[in-house]
């Protein structure tokens, strides 16, 4: 019964926290509205998210978020450098194939989002079977190193969190 009412407990909790951040005040009325939203939204959208997400170590997600935030800042300096200082015809853009070890869809989408936000890479497509990501690198003289970094820095961590 409780499972039917709250198909995604993490999503419901996140929605409650987000609603309180949005209204920016602690009142009972806000809590009622937050609970209503946290009940209705996961129910309405559950058709597109049939399986319940399994997060083995939710606390480690915080460390991962901090790492990604740091990398986003570094990424911006790198991209700014490429845009401003590297001559237009010297920018070596490449496609990379990143084979995936992750299986959980939530982990794969987190990885794809991370790739897009971090150093000069953009996740562009996925193989039809979902076992490889197509990544576009803005400036990668050594594509293999970029792929190895994605696999060791992000995918290994996500694998420890989700699987």
């Amino acid at each position: 019964m409780l499972k039917r009412l709250f198909p995604h407990p993490y999503l419901s909790l996140t929605l409650i926290v987000l609603w309180f951040m949005l209204v920016n005040q602690w009142k009972l009325g806000s809590l009622v509205m937050a609970v209503i939203l946290a009940t209705i939204l996961p129910l309405v959208t559950s058709a597109w998210w049939p399986d319940r997400a399994r997060v083995r170590h939710p606390l480690r997600l915080l460390g991962y978020t901090a790492l990604v935030f740091w990398d986003i800042i570094v990424a911006n300096f790198q991209v700014a450098y490429v845009i401003l200082f590297i001559p237009r015809d010297k920018v070596q853009s490449r496609w990379l194939t990143v084979p995936l070890d992750l299986k959980s869809p939530e982990a794969v989408s987190l990885l794809a989002g991370t790739i897009t936000m971090t150093p000069g890479t953009l996740s562009s497509d996925m193989s039809a079977c979902g076992r490889a990501l197509l990544v576009h690198a803005l400036h990668a003289p050594d594509p293999d190193a970029v792929r190895d970094q994605i696999k060791s820095r992000y995918e290994a961590r996500l694998k420890r969190i989700f699987e």
């Binding site: 237009r88 853009s93 496609w95 193989s127 039809a128 576009h136």
Partner: protein
Amino acid sequence: MTPILQTAIELIVAAGLVGGGFFALVGSWGLIRLPRPMQRLHAPTKATTIGVGAALLASSIGSLPVTGTVSIQEWLITLFLLLTAPISALFLAKTLILRGEADPDLPDPGTGTPWATLGQERPDP
């Protein structure tokens, strides 16, 4: 609030605004300067995210001397930007691949199946 703290907050706010403006400008400049469509996608996904993020951080801290608290709503905007930027970038990239306007030398997926955008169309479940 002591004058030193006040000055420190003003310095942080100023740094956030100037830095954010700089990165937003670089992102827009990249849109003009980079020659190929896939390269141009890189500029708005990254440079503008930190550009807007830094400006919002400045706005969040800037309300500290006025109201006495840090405003939380700006953090939400940053969060939603981080959530939506990869998705819109993915849609644009898939469109470019499907229309054949991306760089043509796509690598092999190495899984025996084609890239999802170029594969057989599947009916909606």
